[in-house]
């Protein structure tokens, strides 16, 4: 059953727009380094409601174990150490099971990717 990790941050008072740009760029790079990530949609709060958190990430995985692999992955741990630790006032997170929201085309793509990877292994 698909598994979703949602996390929100409130930045510390001394965090500036420059730091947030760095967070955004670093997050954009993570899925390429961690193959278990299926979808990764993050961004800054747009400021249309009072009392919100500042940043959110919604990350989708096939299974809870894929999420654990992501959580412990060195690239993710480095991201946390460089961009999150000491930079936030508050964090809020939920992990939950999601219905199979992926459509047939997504599944077909995954199968194609898998097939090509196997073909790749056979050639090399």
């Amino acid at each position: 059953m698909p598994f979703r990790h949602v996390v929100m941050f409130q930045w510390a008072d001394d965090v500036d727009e420059n730091h947030v740009d760095g967070v955004r760029a670093a997050l954009d790079n993570l899925p390429e380094q961690i193959s278990q990530v299926r979808q990764y949609v993050h961004g800054s709060d747009v400021g249309v409601a009072e009392g919100n958190f500042d940043y959110v990430l919604v990350a989708d995985f096939d299974t809870v174990d894929d999420w654990r692999t992501y959580r412990d992955h060195p690239a993710h741990q480095l991201f946390i150490a460089e961009h999150i630790v000491g930079k936030i006032k508050q964090r809020a997170a939920v992990q939950y099971q999601t219905p199979g929201t992926r459509d047939a085309m997504d599944v077909a793509q995954d199968q194609l990717a898998k097939y090509l990877a196997e073909l790749d292994d056979d050639i090399s």
Copy 2:
């Protein structure tokens, strides 16, 4: 540009599983009543991490105005009055812009081109 609303709740101490089941059922019914909702994926935290919130909703809309229509819709307001007010300890929310979902066939073709290019690189 697509617009996403993410909200998390921590239930008050006297909220039981029965109430949460009612929340789940009521949320399942909202998209049918509010035509602006594009995707609506909600659920309880599964308990694999410490210090999490209890429930999360990720709701997708085409525009910020569609989200405003949803926010103010009588069915949504009734849901809040019946299931949320007085029932939560804490709330965390972010609204953000999400990249446009591209046509599935375009994505599949791009992916295929990428895989074939990589395969090509590996062979040469």
